[in-house]
Symmetry: C2
Subunit: 329 residues, 2 copies
Protein backbone atom coordinates (compact mmCIF):
# COMPACT_ATOMS: atom_id res chain seq x y z
CA UNK A 1 0.00 0.00 0.00
CA UNK A 2 1.25 3.44 -0.86
CA UNK A 3 1.88 6.04 1.77
CA UNK A 4 -1.13 7.76 3.26
CA UNK A 5 -1.61 11.51 3.50
CA UNK A 6 -3.59 12.71 6.47
CA UNK A 7 -4.79 16.29 6.95
CA UNK A 8 -5.08 17.55 10.51
CA UNK A 9 -7.00 20.61 11.73
CA UNK A 10 -4.45 22.37 13.94
CA UNK A 11 -6.88 25.02 15.19
CA UNK A 12 -9.69 22.85 16.62
CA UNK A 13 -10.08 21.55 20.17
CA UNK A 14 -9.27 22.71 23.68
CA UNK A 15 -5.53 22.07 23.34
CA UNK A 16 -4.95 23.47 19.85
CA UNK A 17 -2.56 24.27 18.38
CA UNK A 18 0.25 23.09 20.72
CA UNK A 19 -0.91 19.55 21.53
CA UNK A 20 -2.25 18.92 18.03
CA UNK A 21 1.07 19.85 16.39
CA UNK A 22 2.97 17.89 19.04
CA UNK A 23 0.84 14.83 18.28
CA UNK A 24 1.50 15.21 14.55
CA UNK A 25 5.25 15.28 15.17
CA UNK A 26 5.01 12.19 17.38
CA UNK A 27 3.27 10.19 14.68
CA UNK A 28 6.34 10.64 12.47
CA UNK A 29 8.32 8.38 14.79
CA UNK A 30 6.32 5.38 13.61
CA UNK A 31 4.92 4.63 10.16
CA UNK A 32 5.53 6.47 6.91
CA UNK A 33 2.42 8.62 6.56
CA UNK A 34 2.63 12.21 5.43
CA UNK A 35 0.74 14.85 7.35
CA UNK A 36 -0.89 18.04 6.13
CA UNK A 37 -1.23 20.56 8.95
CA UNK A 38 -4.11 22.94 8.29
CA UNK A 39 -4.56 26.29 10.03
CA UNK A 40 -2.95 29.68 10.54
CA UNK A 41 0.46 28.98 9.03
CA UNK A 42 2.31 31.51 11.20
CA UNK A 43 1.08 29.82 14.37
CA UNK A 44 1.70 26.31 13.04
CA UNK A 45 5.23 27.17 11.84
CA UNK A 46 5.96 28.61 15.26
CA UNK A 47 4.87 25.37 16.94
CA UNK A 48 6.80 23.27 14.43
CA UNK A 49 9.98 25.28 15.11
CA UNK A 50 10.06 23.67 18.58
CA UNK A 51 10.82 20.28 17.08
CA UNK A 52 13.32 18.67 14.75
CA UNK A 53 11.55 16.36 12.30
CA UNK A 54 11.56 15.01 8.74
CA UNK A 55 10.40 18.06 6.73
CA UNK A 56 9.52 15.87 3.75
CA UNK A 57 6.65 14.39 5.73
CA UNK A 58 5.02 17.57 7.00
CA UNK A 59 3.22 20.06 4.79
CA UNK A 60 1.48 23.19 6.07
CA UNK A 61 -1.65 24.50 4.33
CA UNK A 62 -2.67 27.97 5.40
CA UNK A 63 -6.22 28.74 6.54
CA UNK A 64 -6.80 32.22 7.87
CA UNK A 65 -10.05 31.58 9.77
CA UNK A 66 -11.12 29.39 12.68
CA UNK A 67 -14.60 28.01 13.41
CA UNK A 68 -15.19 28.40 17.12
CA UNK A 69 -17.12 25.93 19.28
CA UNK A 70 -20.09 28.18 19.95
CA UNK A 71 -20.74 28.97 16.27
CA UNK A 72 -23.86 27.67 14.54
CA UNK A 73 -22.62 24.81 12.30
CA UNK A 74 -24.48 25.55 9.07
CA UNK A 75 -23.72 29.26 9.23
CA UNK A 76 -20.06 28.74 10.11
CA UNK A 77 -19.46 26.29 7.27
CA UNK A 78 -21.15 28.56 4.74
CA UNK A 79 -19.43 31.77 5.82
CA UNK A 80 -15.93 30.71 6.81
CA UNK A 81 -14.63 29.34 3.53
CA UNK A 82 -11.07 29.93 4.70
CA UNK A 83 -11.44 28.17 8.03
CA UNK A 84 -9.09 25.31 8.87
CA UNK A 85 -12.10 23.00 8.86
CA UNK A 86 -13.47 23.94 5.43
CA UNK A 87 -9.98 24.04 3.91
CA UNK A 88 -9.19 20.59 5.37
CA UNK A 89 -12.44 19.07 4.13
CA UNK A 90 -11.74 20.44 0.66
CA UNK A 91 -8.30 18.80 0.68
CA UNK A 92 -10.06 15.46 1.19
CA UNK A 93 -12.72 16.21 -1.38
CA UNK A 94 -10.11 17.10 -4.00
CA UNK A 95 -8.05 14.00 -3.23
CA UNK A 96 -5.12 16.05 -1.94
CA UNK A 97 -5.41 14.19 1.38
CA UNK A 98 -6.79 10.74 2.19
CA UNK A 99 -8.36 11.71 5.48
CA UNK A 100 -9.10 14.72 7.69
CA UNK A 101 -8.98 14.84 11.48
CA UNK A 102 -10.46 17.66 13.55
CA UNK A 103 -11.03 18.16 17.28
CA UNK A 104 -13.09 21.28 16.56
CA UNK A 105 -16.83 22.10 16.58
CA UNK A 106 -18.55 18.71 16.11
CA UNK A 107 -21.70 20.04 14.48
CA UNK A 108 -19.72 22.11 11.99
CA UNK A 109 -17.49 19.16 11.13
CA UNK A 110 -20.48 16.90 10.52
CA UNK A 111 -22.31 19.51 8.47
CA UNK A 112 -19.20 20.42 6.53
CA UNK A 113 -18.24 16.81 5.88
CA UNK A 114 -21.71 15.93 4.57
CA UNK A 115 -21.92 19.02 2.36
CA UNK A 116 -18.32 19.17 1.11
CA UNK A 117 -17.15 15.54 1.06
CA UNK A 118 -20.55 13.97 0.37
CA UNK A 119 -22.43 10.80 1.25
CA UNK A 120 -22.05 7.27 -0.06
CA UNK A 121 -25.06 6.22 -2.15
CA UNK A 122 -27.54 4.32 0.03
CA UNK A 123 -26.54 6.15 3.19
CA UNK A 124 -29.35 8.48 4.28
CA UNK A 125 -27.35 9.89 7.19
CA UNK A 126 -23.64 9.49 7.92
CA UNK A 127 -22.96 8.76 11.58
CA UNK A 128 -20.25 9.05 14.19
CA UNK A 129 -18.87 5.77 15.46
CA UNK A 130 -16.58 5.40 18.42
CA UNK A 131 -14.88 2.53 20.15
CA UNK A 132 -15.89 2.38 23.80
CA UNK A 133 -13.80 0.55 26.37
CA UNK A 134 -15.37 -2.64 27.71
CA UNK A 135 -14.29 -5.49 29.94
CA UNK A 136 -13.65 -7.94 27.10
CA UNK A 137 -12.25 -5.41 24.63
CA UNK A 138 -13.65 -2.32 22.92
CA UNK A 139 -17.03 -2.28 21.19
CA UNK A 140 -18.13 0.12 18.46
CA UNK A 141 -20.92 2.47 19.55
CA UNK A 142 -22.80 4.38 16.85
CA UNK A 143 -24.32 6.90 16.29
CA UNK A 144 -22.73 8.96 19.06
CA UNK A 145 -24.09 12.35 18.12
CA UNK A 146 -24.45 13.10 14.42
CA UNK A 147 -28.20 12.41 14.25
CA UNK A 148 -30.22 13.15 17.37
CA UNK A 149 -33.48 11.99 15.80
CA UNK A 150 -33.26 8.79 13.76
CA UNK A 151 -35.52 6.71 11.57
CA UNK A 152 -35.23 2.94 11.89
CA UNK A 153 -33.79 2.77 8.37
CA UNK A 154 -30.80 4.89 9.48
CA UNK A 155 -30.12 2.40 12.27
CA UNK A 156 -29.95 -0.44 9.75
CA UNK A 157 -27.45 1.54 7.66
CA UNK A 158 -25.40 2.30 10.79
CA UNK A 159 -25.34 -1.42 11.55
CA UNK A 160 -24.10 -2.31 8.06
CA UNK A 161 -21.36 0.33 8.15
CA UNK A 162 -20.36 -0.64 11.68
CA UNK A 163 -20.08 -4.30 10.71
CA UNK A 164 -17.76 -3.48 7.83
CA UNK A 165 -15.65 -1.26 10.09
CA UNK A 166 -15.41 -3.72 12.96
CA UNK A 167 -14.69 -6.70 10.73
CA UNK A 168 -11.90 -4.90 8.89
CA UNK A 169 -10.34 -2.64 11.50
CA UNK A 170 -10.77 -4.87 14.56
CA UNK A 171 -10.34 -8.14 12.64
CA UNK A 172 -13.52 -9.79 13.96
CA UNK A 173 -15.26 -11.88 11.34
CA UNK A 174 -19.03 -11.43 11.11
CA UNK A 175 -19.22 -9.12 14.13
CA UNK A 176 -22.21 -9.26 16.46
CA UNK A 177 -24.64 -6.36 16.09
CA UNK A 178 -27.01 -5.29 18.87
CA UNK A 179 -29.50 -2.45 19.34
CA UNK A 180 -28.83 -0.45 22.51
CA UNK A 181 -32.02 -0.90 24.47
CA UNK A 182 -33.72 -1.02 27.86
CA UNK A 183 -34.53 -4.72 27.68
CA UNK A 184 -33.61 -7.76 25.62
CA UNK A 185 -37.06 -8.72 24.35
CA UNK A 186 -38.05 -7.68 20.81
CA UNK A 187 -40.99 -5.59 22.03
CA UNK A 188 -38.86 -3.58 24.48
CA UNK A 189 -37.75 -0.03 23.80
CA UNK A 190 -39.26 2.92 21.98
CA UNK A 191 -41.10 3.06 18.65
CA UNK A 192 -37.84 3.47 16.75
CA UNK A 193 -35.95 0.56 18.33
CA UNK A 194 -38.90 -1.78 17.83
CA UNK A 195 -39.05 -0.88 14.14
CA UNK A 196 -35.26 -1.20 13.79
CA UNK A 197 -35.39 -4.64 15.40
CA UNK A 198 -37.83 -5.84 12.72
CA UNK A 199 -35.68 -4.45 9.91
CA UNK A 200 -32.39 -5.78 11.29
CA UNK A 201 -33.82 -9.31 11.58
CA UNK A 202 -34.26 -9.29 7.80
CA UNK A 203 -30.63 -8.39 7.02
CA UNK A 204 -27.67 -10.73 6.55
CA UNK A 205 -25.91 -9.14 9.53
CA UNK A 206 -25.01 -11.13 12.65
CA UNK A 207 -27.85 -9.46 14.55
CA UNK A 208 -28.06 -10.65 18.15
CA UNK A 209 -31.12 -8.56 19.11
CA UNK A 210 -31.22 -5.95 21.84
CA UNK A 211 -28.15 -5.12 23.93
CA UNK A 212 -29.22 -4.01 27.39
CA UNK A 213 -27.61 -0.80 28.60
CA UNK A 214 -26.61 -2.66 31.75
CA UNK A 215 -24.40 -5.03 29.71
CA UNK A 216 -22.65 -2.54 27.43
CA UNK A 217 -19.47 -2.47 29.52
CA UNK A 218 -19.06 -6.22 29.33
CA UNK A 219 -19.04 -6.27 25.51
CA UNK A 220 -22.31 -8.04 24.76
CA UNK A 221 -22.02 -7.14 21.04
CA UNK A 222 -19.22 -5.83 18.81
CA UNK A 223 -21.32 -3.16 17.14
CA UNK A 224 -23.88 -1.30 19.23
CA UNK A 225 -26.37 0.78 17.23
CA UNK A 226 -28.64 3.56 18.49
CA UNK A 227 -29.79 7.08 17.66
CA UNK A 228 -27.21 9.82 18.12
CA UNK A 229 -28.93 11.27 21.18
CA UNK A 230 -28.82 7.97 23.07
CA UNK A 231 -25.27 7.21 21.91
CA UNK A 232 -23.99 10.60 22.98
CA UNK A 233 -25.74 10.31 26.36
CA UNK A 234 -24.04 6.94 26.93
CA UNK A 235 -20.64 8.21 25.84
CA UNK A 236 -20.75 11.39 27.94
CA UNK A 237 -22.39 9.77 30.95
CA UNK A 238 -19.77 7.01 30.86
CA UNK A 239 -16.94 9.54 30.72
CA UNK A 240 -18.44 11.57 33.56
CA UNK A 241 -19.15 8.48 35.61
CA UNK A 242 -15.61 7.15 35.26
CA UNK A 243 -14.12 10.53 36.17
CA UNK A 244 -16.41 10.89 39.19
CA UNK A 245 -15.68 7.40 40.47
CA UNK A 246 -11.90 7.79 40.04
CA UNK A 247 -12.04 11.18 41.81
CA UNK A 248 -14.09 9.70 44.66
CA UNK A 249 -11.80 6.66 44.96
CA UNK A 250 -8.80 8.96 45.14
CA UNK A 251 -10.41 11.15 47.80
CA UNK A 252 -11.45 8.08 49.74
CA UNK A 253 -7.94 6.58 49.58
CA UNK A 254 -6.37 9.83 50.76
CA UNK A 255 -8.73 10.03 53.75
CA UNK A 256 -6.49 8.12 56.18
CA UNK A 257 -2.81 7.31 56.61
CA UNK A 258 -3.45 3.57 56.39
CA UNK A 259 -5.44 3.77 53.19
CA UNK A 260 -2.80 6.13 51.75
CA UNK A 261 -0.18 3.45 52.39
CA UNK A 262 -2.49 0.83 50.89
CA UNK A 263 -3.02 3.01 47.83
CA UNK A 264 0.74 3.24 47.28
CA UNK A 265 0.89 -0.53 47.10
CA UNK A 266 -2.09 -0.83 44.71
CA UNK A 267 -1.23 2.00 42.37
CA UNK A 268 0.63 -0.15 39.84
CA UNK A 269 -2.28 -2.51 39.33
CA UNK A 270 -4.84 0.29 39.20
CA UNK A 271 -2.89 2.21 36.57
CA UNK A 272 -3.16 -0.79 34.24
CA UNK A 273 -6.90 -0.76 34.77
CA UNK A 274 -7.16 2.98 34.13
CA UNK A 275 -5.36 2.41 30.82
CA UNK A 276 -7.93 -0.24 29.78
CA UNK A 277 -10.75 2.19 30.52
CA UNK A 278 -9.08 5.21 28.93
CA UNK A 279 -11.07 6.70 26.07
CA UNK A 280 -8.03 8.54 24.66
CA UNK A 281 -6.25 5.22 24.05
CA UNK A 282 -9.03 4.24 21.70
CA UNK A 283 -8.66 7.20 19.28
CA UNK A 284 -11.17 9.46 17.52
CA UNK A 285 -14.61 8.84 16.10
CA UNK A 286 -14.76 8.15 12.35
CA UNK A 287 -17.67 9.73 10.54
CA UNK A 288 -18.98 6.76 8.57
CA UNK A 289 -21.00 6.98 5.36
CA UNK A 290 -18.93 9.63 3.56
CA UNK A 291 -17.07 9.09 0.31
CA UNK A 292 -13.81 9.82 2.15
CA UNK A 293 -12.62 9.54 5.72
CA UNK A 294 -13.29 12.30 8.25
CA UNK A 295 -12.46 11.70 11.91
CA UNK A 296 -13.78 13.67 14.87
CA UNK A 297 -11.19 13.75 17.63
CA UNK A 298 -12.36 14.50 21.17
CA UNK A 299 -12.50 18.21 21.98
CA UNK A 300 -10.10 17.62 24.85
CA UNK A 301 -7.61 15.77 22.63
CA UNK A 302 -3.97 15.87 23.67
CA UNK A 303 -0.97 14.78 21.61
CA UNK A 304 -1.57 11.14 22.50
CA UNK A 305 -5.16 11.30 21.20
CA UNK A 306 -3.90 12.83 17.95
CA UNK A 307 -1.46 9.94 17.55
CA UNK A 308 -4.34 7.50 18.14
CA UNK A 309 -6.53 9.24 15.56
CA UNK A 310 -3.76 9.26 12.93
CA UNK A 311 -3.12 5.54 13.46
CA UNK A 312 -6.83 4.95 13.14
CA UNK A 313 -6.94 6.83 9.82
CA UNK A 314 -4.01 4.82 8.53
CA UNK A 315 -5.72 1.54 9.34
CA UNK A 316 -9.05 2.74 7.93
CA UNK A 317 -7.50 3.73 4.62
CA UNK A 318 -5.25 0.69 4.38
CA UNK A 319 -8.29 -1.56 4.86
CA UNK A 320 -10.20 0.41 2.18
CA UNK A 321 -13.24 0.81 4.43
CA UNK A 322 -14.98 3.40 2.26
CA UNK A 323 -15.17 1.06 -0.73
CA UNK A 324 -16.20 -1.86 1.43
CA UNK A 325 -19.04 0.21 2.89
CA UNK A 326 -20.07 1.16 -0.66
CA UNK A 327 -20.29 -2.54 -1.55
CA UNK A 328 -22.31 -3.38 1.55
CA UNK A 329 -24.95 -0.68 1.06
Amino acid sequence: MSKVKIAVDCMGGDNAPAEIVKGCIETLKTGEDKLVLVGKSGIIDNELSKYSYDKERIEVVDAAEVIENEEIPTVAIRRKKNSSMVVGLNLVKEGRADAFISAGNTGALLTGATVIVGRIKGVERPCLATLIPAEKGPALLMDVGANTDCKASYIVQFAKMGSVYFENVMGVENPKVGIVNIGVEEEKGNLMTREAYKLLKETDLNFIGNAEARDLMTHVADVLVCDGFTGNIILKFGEGFAMTIFRMVKKSLMSSLISKLGAMLCIGSLKGLAKTMDYAEVGGAPFLGLTSLVVKAHGASDARAVVGAVEQCHSFIEKDIVNKIKEKL
Copy 2:
Protein backbone atom coordinates in the same frame (compact mmCIF):
# COMPACT_ATOMS: atom_id res chain seq x y z
CA MET B 1 -49.77 12.02 61.67
CA SER B 2 -51.65 8.74 61.96
CA LYS B 3 -50.01 5.43 61.29
CA VAL B 4 -49.45 4.47 57.69
CA LYS B 5 -50.52 1.18 56.12
CA ILE B 6 -48.29 -0.09 53.35
CA ALA B 7 -49.13 -3.03 51.10
CA VAL B 8 -46.23 -5.09 49.79
CA ASP B 9 -46.26 -7.54 46.88
CA CYS B 10 -44.53 -10.59 48.34
CA MET B 11 -44.46 -12.52 45.06
CA GLY B 12 -42.61 -10.06 42.79
CA GLY B 13 -38.87 -9.79 42.16
CA ASP B 14 -35.89 -12.12 41.94
CA ASN B 15 -35.70 -12.68 45.70
CA ALA B 16 -39.39 -13.12 46.46
CA PRO B 17 -40.83 -14.22 48.75
CA ALA B 18 -38.03 -14.79 51.30
CA GLU B 19 -36.20 -11.43 51.09
CA ILE B 20 -39.39 -9.42 50.67
CA VAL B 21 -40.96 -10.90 53.79
CA LYS B 22 -37.67 -10.55 55.67
CA GLY B 23 -37.54 -6.86 54.71
CA CYS B 24 -41.12 -6.36 55.91
CA ILE B 25 -40.25 -7.86 59.28
CA GLU B 26 -37.17 -5.65 59.56
CA THR B 27 -39.20 -2.48 59.01
CA LEU B 28 -41.16 -3.30 62.16
CA LYS B 29 -38.06 -2.59 64.24
CA THR B 30 -38.35 1.12 63.48
CA GLY B 31 -41.44 3.23 63.02
CA GLU B 32 -45.05 2.32 63.65
CA ASP B 33 -46.35 1.55 60.17
CA LYS B 34 -48.57 -1.43 59.52
CA LEU B 35 -47.82 -3.70 56.61
CA VAL B 36 -50.14 -5.69 54.40
CA LEU B 37 -48.36 -8.63 52.82
CA VAL B 38 -50.01 -9.61 49.54
CA GLY B 39 -49.52 -12.96 47.80
CA LYS B 40 -50.05 -16.69 48.24
CA SER B 41 -50.95 -16.79 51.92
CA GLY B 42 -49.59 -20.29 52.51
CA ILE B 43 -46.16 -19.26 51.27
CA ILE B 44 -46.20 -15.94 53.13
CA ASP B 45 -47.32 -17.55 56.39
CA ASN B 46 -44.53 -20.07 56.03
CA GLU B 47 -41.97 -17.27 55.65
CA LEU B 48 -43.47 -15.32 58.54
CA SER B 49 -43.22 -18.37 60.79
CA LYS B 50 -39.43 -17.98 60.70
CA TYR B 51 -39.65 -14.75 62.71
CA SER B 52 -41.13 -13.48 65.93
CA TYR B 53 -42.80 -10.11 65.40
CA ASP B 54 -45.69 -7.90 66.46
CA LYS B 55 -48.67 -9.65 64.83
CA GLU B 56 -50.82 -6.53 65.20
CA ARG B 57 -48.71 -4.81 62.61
CA ILE B 58 -48.70 -7.48 59.90
CA GLU B 59 -51.75 -8.46 57.88
CA VAL B 60 -51.72 -11.06 55.11
CA VAL B 61 -54.04 -10.69 52.11
CA ASP B 62 -54.26 -13.78 49.94
CA ALA B 63 -53.75 -13.59 46.18
CA ALA B 64 -53.71 -16.90 44.37
CA GLU B 65 -51.97 -15.79 41.16
CA VAL B 66 -48.58 -14.30 40.28
CA ILE B 67 -47.74 -12.11 37.28
CA GLU B 68 -44.44 -13.34 35.90
CA ASN B 69 -41.73 -11.08 34.44
CA GLU B 70 -42.10 -12.32 30.88
CA GLU B 71 -45.87 -11.74 30.70
CA ILE B 72 -47.32 -9.01 28.49
CA PRO B 73 -48.37 -6.23 30.91
CA THR B 74 -51.80 -5.34 29.53
CA VAL B 75 -52.82 -8.98 29.12
CA ALA B 76 -51.52 -9.99 32.55
CA ILE B 77 -53.34 -7.17 34.36
CA ARG B 78 -56.61 -7.92 32.55
CA ARG B 79 -56.52 -11.69 33.03
CA LYS B 80 -54.94 -12.19 36.45
CA LYS B 81 -57.47 -10.44 38.68
CA ASN B 82 -56.28 -12.52 41.63
CA SER B 83 -52.59 -11.78 41.19
CA SER B 84 -50.67 -10.23 44.08
CA MET B 85 -50.16 -7.14 41.93
CA VAL B 86 -53.78 -6.54 40.99
CA VAL B 87 -54.98 -7.36 44.52
CA GLY B 88 -52.39 -4.96 46.00
CA LEU B 89 -53.32 -2.15 43.63
CA ASN B 90 -56.98 -2.62 44.52
CA LEU B 91 -56.14 -2.30 48.23
CA VAL B 92 -54.69 1.14 47.46
CA LYS B 93 -57.59 2.12 45.22
CA GLU B 94 -60.13 1.18 47.89
CA GLY B 95 -58.21 3.04 50.57
CA ARG B 96 -57.42 -0.16 52.48
CA ALA B 97 -53.72 0.66 52.15
CA ASP B 98 -51.92 4.00 51.74
CA ALA B 99 -49.28 2.70 49.35
CA PHE B 100 -48.28 -0.39 47.39
CA ILE B 101 -44.75 -1.62 46.77
CA SER B 102 -43.85 -4.26 44.17
CA ALA B 103 -40.56 -5.58 42.81
CA GLY B 104 -42.43 -7.49 40.08
CA ASN B 105 -43.00 -6.97 36.33
CA THR B 106 -42.45 -3.23 35.81
CA GLY B 107 -44.68 -2.88 32.76
CA ALA B 108 -47.54 -4.70 34.47
CA LEU B 109 -47.19 -2.55 37.59
CA LEU B 110 -47.26 0.66 35.56
CA THR B 111 -50.20 -0.47 33.45
CA GLY B 112 -52.07 -1.79 36.46
CA ALA B 113 -51.40 1.32 38.54
CA THR B 114 -52.62 3.65 35.80
CA VAL B 115 -55.74 1.58 35.08
CA ILE B 116 -56.67 0.60 38.64
CA VAL B 117 -55.42 3.48 40.81
CA GLY B 118 -55.83 6.22 38.21
CA ARG B 119 -54.10 9.45 37.23
CA ILE B 120 -54.12 12.86 38.84
CA LYS B 121 -56.00 15.41 36.71
CA GLY B 122 -53.53 17.30 34.52
CA VAL B 123 -51.07 14.41 34.35
CA GLU B 124 -51.04 12.95 30.85
CA ARG B 125 -48.62 10.19 31.77
CA PRO B 126 -47.50 9.09 35.24
CA CYS B 127 -43.77 8.46 35.41
CA LEU B 128 -41.20 6.55 37.40
CA ALA B 129 -38.80 8.66 39.41
CA THR B 130 -35.71 7.38 41.12
CA LEU B 131 -32.97 8.90 43.23
CA ILE B 132 -29.59 8.32 41.65
CA PRO B 133 -26.39 8.51 43.69
CA ALA B 134 -24.22 11.53 42.89
CA GLU B 135 -21.08 13.06 44.32
CA LYS B 136 -22.89 15.88 46.15
CA GLY B 137 -25.93 13.85 47.20
CA PRO B 138 -28.68 12.04 45.30
CA ALA B 139 -30.60 13.63 42.43
CA LEU B 140 -34.04 12.63 41.19
CA LEU B 141 -34.02 11.14 37.69
CA MET B 142 -37.36 10.84 35.87
CA ASP B 143 -38.85 9.23 33.82
CA VAL B 144 -36.80 6.06 34.21
CA GLY B 145 -38.91 3.75 32.11
CA ALA B 146 -42.66 4.26 32.24
CA ASN B 147 -42.91 6.18 28.95
CA THR B 148 -40.39 5.28 26.27
CA ASP B 149 -41.73 7.86 23.82
CA CYS B 150 -42.56 11.24 25.33
CA LYS B 151 -44.12 14.49 24.21
CA ALA B 152 -42.54 17.68 25.53
CA SER B 153 -45.69 18.36 27.57
CA TYR B 154 -45.10 15.16 29.55
CA ILE B 155 -41.61 16.36 30.42
CA VAL B 156 -43.02 19.58 31.85
CA GLN B 157 -45.42 17.59 34.01
CA PHE B 158 -42.58 15.31 35.15
CA ALA B 159 -40.62 18.40 36.14
CA LYS B 160 -43.50 19.79 38.21
CA MET B 161 -44.07 16.49 39.99
CA GLY B 162 -40.36 16.00 40.58
CA SER B 163 -40.02 19.47 42.07
CA VAL B 164 -42.80 18.79 44.54
CA TYR B 165 -41.25 15.46 45.46
CA PHE B 166 -37.71 16.76 45.86
CA GLU B 167 -38.78 19.84 47.82
CA ASN B 168 -40.86 17.83 50.27
CA VAL B 169 -39.04 14.52 50.59
CA MET B 170 -35.47 15.79 50.27
CA GLY B 171 -36.14 19.12 51.96
CA VAL B 172 -34.61 21.28 49.22
CA GLU B 173 -36.52 24.50 48.67
CA ASN B 174 -37.19 25.41 45.05
CA PRO B 175 -35.13 22.52 43.65
CA LYS B 176 -33.14 22.98 40.46
CA VAL B 177 -34.64 21.29 37.40
CA GLY B 178 -32.57 20.31 34.35
CA ILE B 179 -33.29 18.46 31.11
CA VAL B 180 -30.93 15.52 30.58
CA ASN B 181 -29.19 16.42 27.35
CA ILE B 182 -26.10 16.11 25.17
CA GLY B 183 -25.10 19.76 25.51
CA VAL B 184 -25.95 22.79 27.63
CA GLU B 185 -27.11 25.16 24.90
CA GLU B 186 -30.86 25.58 24.31
CA GLU B 187 -30.65 24.32 20.73
CA LYS B 188 -28.84 21.10 21.70
CA GLY B 189 -30.57 17.75 21.81
CA ASN B 190 -33.39 16.11 19.89
CA LEU B 191 -36.72 17.57 18.74
CA MET B 192 -38.37 16.66 22.03
CA THR B 193 -35.76 18.19 24.36
CA ARG B 194 -35.69 21.43 22.35
CA GLU B 195 -39.47 21.74 22.62
CA ALA B 196 -39.39 20.85 26.33
CA TYR B 197 -36.74 23.54 26.92
CA LYS B 198 -39.05 26.20 25.47
CA LEU B 199 -41.98 25.03 27.58
CA LEU B 200 -39.98 24.74 30.82
CA LYS B 201 -38.64 28.28 30.44
CA GLU B 202 -42.24 29.50 30.72
CA THR B 203 -42.98 27.72 34.01
CA ASP B 204 -42.42 28.97 37.57
CA LEU B 205 -39.99 26.10 38.21
CA ASN B 206 -36.34 26.68 39.06
CA PHE B 207 -35.32 25.58 35.54
CA ILE B 208 -31.56 25.68 35.04
CA GLY B 209 -31.60 24.55 31.38
CA ASN B 210 -29.92 21.45 30.05
CA ALA B 211 -27.96 19.09 32.29
CA GLU B 212 -25.17 17.43 30.33
CA ALA B 213 -24.98 13.67 30.71
CA ARG B 214 -21.31 14.11 31.61
CA ASP B 215 -22.27 16.08 34.75
CA LEU B 216 -25.10 13.93 36.08
CA MET B 217 -22.90 12.20 38.65
CA THR B 218 -21.80 15.49 40.17
CA HIS B 219 -25.38 16.63 40.90
CA VAL B 220 -25.76 19.52 38.48
CA ALA B 221 -29.52 19.69 39.17
CA ASP B 222 -31.82 18.23 41.83
CA VAL B 223 -34.45 17.02 39.39
CA LEU B 224 -33.32 15.59 36.06
CA VAL B 225 -36.08 15.13 33.49
CA CYS B 226 -36.02 13.03 30.32
CA ASP B 227 -38.05 10.51 28.38
CA GLY B 228 -38.32 7.04 29.92
CA PHE B 229 -36.07 5.43 27.32
CA THR B 230 -33.20 7.81 28.04
CA GLY B 231 -33.74 7.64 31.81
CA ASN B 232 -33.76 3.87 31.82
CA ILE B 233 -30.63 3.73 29.65
CA ILE B 234 -28.83 6.02 32.13
CA LEU B 235 -30.00 4.06 35.14
CA LYS B 236 -29.10 0.64 33.74
CA PHE B 237 -25.87 1.77 32.11
CA GLY B 238 -24.82 3.40 35.39
CA GLU B 239 -25.55 0.22 37.34
CA GLY B 240 -23.70 -1.92 34.82
CA PHE B 241 -20.78 0.50 34.68
CA ALA B 242 -20.41 0.60 38.46
CA MET B 243 -20.55 -3.19 38.70
CA THR B 244 -18.03 -3.63 35.89
CA ILE B 245 -15.59 -1.11 37.37
CA PHE B 246 -15.81 -2.59 40.86
CA ARG B 247 -15.29 -6.10 39.42
CA MET B 248 -12.29 -4.91 37.40
CA VAL B 249 -10.80 -3.04 40.36
CA LYS B 250 -11.14 -6.15 42.48
CA LYS B 251 -9.52 -8.35 39.83
CA SER B 252 -6.75 -5.80 39.40
CA LEU B 253 -6.10 -5.59 43.15
CA MET B 254 -5.94 -9.37 43.45
CA SER B 255 -3.42 -9.62 40.61
CA SER B 256 -0.30 -9.36 42.81
CA LEU B 257 0.69 -9.98 46.40
CA ILE B 258 1.68 -6.36 46.94
CA SER B 259 -1.57 -4.94 45.61
CA LYS B 260 -3.48 -7.52 47.69
CA LEU B 261 -1.76 -6.19 50.77
CA GLY B 262 -2.50 -2.64 49.68
CA ALA B 263 -6.14 -3.52 49.11
CA MET B 264 -6.42 -4.82 52.68
CA LEU B 265 -5.30 -1.43 53.93
CA CYS B 266 -7.70 0.51 51.68
CA ILE B 267 -10.78 -1.63 52.11
CA GLY B 268 -12.29 0.40 54.95
CA SER B 269 -12.21 3.64 52.98
CA LEU B 270 -13.49 2.02 49.81
CA LYS B 271 -16.46 0.41 51.57
CA GLY B 272 -17.65 3.86 52.63
CA LEU B 273 -17.47 4.93 49.01
CA ALA B 274 -19.36 1.86 47.78
CA LYS B 275 -22.12 2.75 50.26
CA THR B 276 -22.42 6.27 48.81
CA MET B 277 -22.79 4.83 45.32
CA ASP B 278 -25.15 2.01 46.31
CA TYR B 279 -28.49 2.18 44.54
CA ALA B 280 -30.19 -0.09 47.11
CA GLU B 281 -29.52 2.47 49.85
CA VAL B 282 -31.61 4.95 47.95
CA GLY B 283 -34.85 2.88 47.86
CA GLY B 284 -37.46 2.19 45.19
CA ALA B 285 -38.88 4.30 42.40
CA PRO B 286 -42.18 6.07 43.15
CA PHE B 287 -44.64 6.13 40.29
CA LEU B 288 -45.61 9.81 40.27
CA GLY B 289 -48.86 11.20 38.89
CA LEU B 290 -51.26 8.65 40.39
CA THR B 291 -54.00 9.45 42.91
CA SER B 292 -52.23 7.18 45.42
CA LEU B 293 -48.70 6.00 45.96
CA VAL B 294 -47.29 3.02 44.06
CA VAL B 295 -43.57 2.23 44.34
CA LYS B 296 -41.55 0.05 41.97
CA ALA B 297 -38.78 -1.68 43.87
CA HIS B 298 -35.79 -3.00 41.90
CA GLY B 299 -36.28 -6.51 40.53
CA ALA B 300 -33.18 -7.62 42.44
CA SER B 301 -34.44 -6.12 45.73
CA ASP B 302 -33.21 -7.74 48.91
CA ALA B 303 -34.56 -7.18 52.43
CA ARG B 304 -32.56 -3.96 52.77
CA ALA B 305 -34.11 -2.52 49.60
CA VAL B 306 -37.58 -3.37 50.91
CA VAL B 307 -36.80 -1.50 54.13
CA GLY B 308 -35.68 1.49 52.04
CA ALA B 309 -38.84 1.40 49.94
CA VAL B 310 -41.09 1.21 53.02
CA GLU B 311 -39.31 4.19 54.61
CA GLN B 312 -39.72 6.07 51.36
CA CYS B 313 -43.47 5.36 51.31
CA HIS B 314 -43.78 6.56 54.88
CA SER B 315 -42.06 9.82 54.09
CA PHE B 316 -44.07 10.27 50.88
CA ILE B 317 -47.39 9.83 52.66
CA GLU B 318 -46.40 11.87 55.70
CA LYS B 319 -45.47 14.76 53.42
CA ASP B 320 -48.79 14.40 51.55
CA ILE B 321 -47.06 14.42 48.16
CA VAL B 322 -50.11 13.29 46.17
CA ASN B 323 -52.15 16.32 47.21
CA LYS B 324 -49.22 18.66 46.71
CA ILE B 325 -48.78 17.33 43.16
CA LYS B 326 -52.52 17.86 42.58
CA GLU B 327 -52.13 21.49 43.62
CA LYS B 328 -49.11 22.01 41.38
CA LEU B 329 -50.71 20.63 38.22
